[in-house]
């Protein structure tokens, strides 16, 4: 009986979750030439699900659009350079750090590589973080 129910559980689970098949590997997202991005500005890439921000010193940060609270897509706030979430009004600053709850950690970031003057972003690998650090920036 016990074995049968364990087996039944796995059969059902196998039928219900189809996660494995969904994760096919994808190529890096090409955001374009380094020079085309102005300093101190945020660029939304909705197809790649990230915001690319270039800071004053020229460093790049690719932040996920997915709110760390419950997964809505945050909007960029043009006045502060930060981000607001339309679902439970979490607010993030321009580094993606939490300004106002309920979100409890900063927006995830995607690794960036810069090759031949082009910015390539690995949108399959969201990196969790607890705060913004200088080392998260990528320079040309």
């Amino acid at each position: 009986m016990a074995i049968a129910s364990v087996e039944a559980f796995f059969i059902i689970k196998g039928g219900v979750s189809k996660v494995e098949q969904a994760n096919a590997k994808k190529e890096l997202f090409n955001a374009g030439k380094v020079d085309s991005f102005h300093k101190n500005k945020t660029y939304p890439f909705s197809t790649g699900h990230f915001f690319l921000r270039r800071f004053e010193d020229g460093g790049f940060l690719a932040m996920s659009v997915k709110c760390t609270h419950l997964g809505c897509v945050v909007n960029s706030n043009l006045e502060t350079g930060g981000f607001n979430c339309p679902c439970h009004r979490s607010q993030f600053n321009r580094f993606g750090e939490v300004l106002a709850a309920p979100a409890t950690r900063p927006l995830d970031i995607f690794p960036i590589v810069i090759k031949n003057g082009e910015i390539l972003i690995d949108t399959n690998k969201a990196v969790k973080r607890t705060s913004f650090e200088k080392s998260q920036l990528t320079y040309a």
Partner: protein, 428 residues
Amino acid sequence: MTKEKTEKKTPSSIEKFILHLHPARIDKRALKFNRTFGLGGILALLFIILGVTGLILRFSYIPTIDHAYDSVVSLQRDTVFGQFIRNLHHISAMLMMVVAFLHLIRTYYSQAIFKKRAENWIYGLIMMFMIIASSFTGYLLPWDQLAYWAVTVITQIIEYIPFIGHSLANMVRGSDVVDGNTLLNFYTLHTGIIPMTFLFLMSMHFWLIRKAGGVALPKQDNTEKVNVIPNLIWLEIMVAALLIAGIFVASVFYHAPLQEQANPMNSPNPSKAPWYFLGAQELLLHLHPFFSAVILPLVVGVFFFYLPYFKYDNLNIGVWFNSPLGKKMTIHASIFAFVFTFILIYLLEHFLHFDIWFASVGSWFATGLVPFAIYVIPVSGYLFYWKKKHGAKTEELVMTITTILMSSYITMLLISLLLRGKGMLMII
């Protein structure tokens, strides 16, 4: 069941069937409309309407992300009575949420959930959960913006459950994001597993009511009995006819909403959950997700399931509010909870920024324990006041806690529904 001698004719087969659901004779007081308001019967009827309209909708619905939305649109545009059937289904589902809640309130406050009825209370609660699950899974099917984001948020809540959360959420979604797999899972649950389970639970629910002797009534020495056929049956037919007529008329004028097609790249602003979840959404705004999405629902859930089993000494089964003091406390507590919750949320919105003040201590403390304490301490004081000043007993105190919980939820629901605009900011 001894048959009376005056009754000569044998019941027809349909009458026999009815007599399987009802006893042959019942207490006259059970017929009084404001004893039950016919709520349980209305729910059964709504379930049937949902089943029939749901089966019809299945003919034109396609459960894939490429076609789901279009199939709903073309149902509404090209099929004769398509829109009408969808409206019927939608309105009945909404009504079911409301009526189920009222039925729960009615049985609880008329003290009909204790002793041998306790088990049926549990079945009832599970069915309430099923109704919510059914509405929620049905929500995704049109694959519009509302559907997509409501489901994204709610399935993500599961991820906050420690240890198993992540794999559980993935299992529900069938994927790590809401996609075609989720749609298929929800479709199967909504049109197969949930209604089937519900049918079983409903049968148990009815049978247990009969076993407990029908509607719970206050004790009385000499009771007057009447025949179910025709007395109760006519009443049931009348309520059913009125209800069906009402839903049909409503379905002509009120159209089931359909927003733009789901767009995973853009959340609508504001993104609001289905209305019955808005109380939960409001809670999510103010509390650390682990508190609002895991601890609180768990505690409240256990409390509700445990309701019939507290140590009571003065149960008055079938008596509304148990006692005059109970009635007074219930009314008082519902007003108290409404005002208190409203003021607390207003202050949290505009003045009490714990998340900023205590940022260094950690969000657990700042948006978890602190607001939790701010709510629980005054409420405890309030209960203590009734106990000390008015000598309230366990049954009255438990009833007051229940009232406070429900009234707080409704308050949050109303705030979220009426007072939140763009960016989910409060508009007052």
